[in-house]
Each structure stands twice: as structure tokens, then as C-alpha cells.
Symmetry: C2
Subunit: 98 residues, 2 copies
Amino acid sequence: MFLGTVRDDGDVSAIEYFAYEAMATQEIARIVSDAEAQWPDARVMLQHRLGVIPVGEASIAIAAAAPHRAEAFAACRFVIEEVKKRLPVWKKEMAHGA
Amino acid sequence: MFLGTVRDDGDVSAIEYFAYEAMATQEIARIVSDAEAQWPDARVMLQHRLGVIPVGEASIAIAAAAPHRAEAFAACRFVIEEVKKRLPVWKKEMAHGA
């Protein structure tokens, strides 16, 4: 299980996430099925939040289950890396007091 | 976060875990501090259950948090591999109907 949380990089109070939801949903399904094609014993779940997410809260959760831990780790890592490369989600940092 | 669950390998209904608890607790602390020495930005938590654990339930939970995901994945993976190598915990499979 991987949780990506909004990091306090200095003055950031929150991050606002935007997406073309139809495209993003389709790309998530593709990433999950690419992972399950590469690791057929693995089952993968991926959830991305949109909108304003305060520092400390999770913006993305990925769960990968497999009979052997190597596959679970590999599938989980693959999914987060592909999300960063391929998912049409943009973000805007929101500063304290802004 | 890594959860190791008891797998249904055919006829297994549960696994019973045994440990010299004082030794195991000490070794867990060493593994965690080895991980945090190797990835100084990471914080690691490890919990191992003992006794009878039914199929499908988790026997071990490892949480690794770090500012960057590469460290979190590496520290989490290191900890589960070291646990399998170093932790003085033994197990006994319990069959259905036994």
C-alpha cells in the first residue's frame, strides 16, 4: 500500500489538484491493467483525490496485493511511477495566508 | 505500508507464530534502526503478531514514511527482507479439520 501525502515544502498549506476527469479515469484503468498484465498474480487498486488537499493529507492511495511480496512491491512501485508520468493531473500549490 | 497476510496454501487454515519475545523485540529495534541509518529521512514502524493467525489476516505490518517515495519503498522493502532473515520467529501451519 502506498499513500502519497501533500508535503510541507516551506510555505505550502495545501495543493489543489485538477484533472480532465474522463481522461484521468481512463488512464487510471490503463495503468492498473498494464500492472496486472505485467504481474498477473497481482491485484491493484488506485485512487486519486482532486480539489484542495491540505498538507499532511493523502492525495493518492495505491494498494497492490499479490501472493508474493516481490510482485506486490513491484506492481505498487510501477503504478505510482506511471501515475507521475502518464496521469493528466495538474497541481497548484497554495501558500499560507494567500 | 506493507501487510504480510497468512496465505491459503492449499489446506492451511491458520499459522501459529512463536518467538523468544525479548530477543525478537530487540532484533526489531535493531532492524528499524538499521533502516533509519541507511535512509535517515525515513521513519519506520514494524509490528509482528504472535500466536494463531487465521488465513487472510495480517501477521506483520510495516510502515515507512519519507519525504520522497524512493526512500519509503526502499526502507519498507529492506525491513521486510531483514525480518525474514533475522527475526527469531518460527511458524507452524495448521490444517483445516486438524
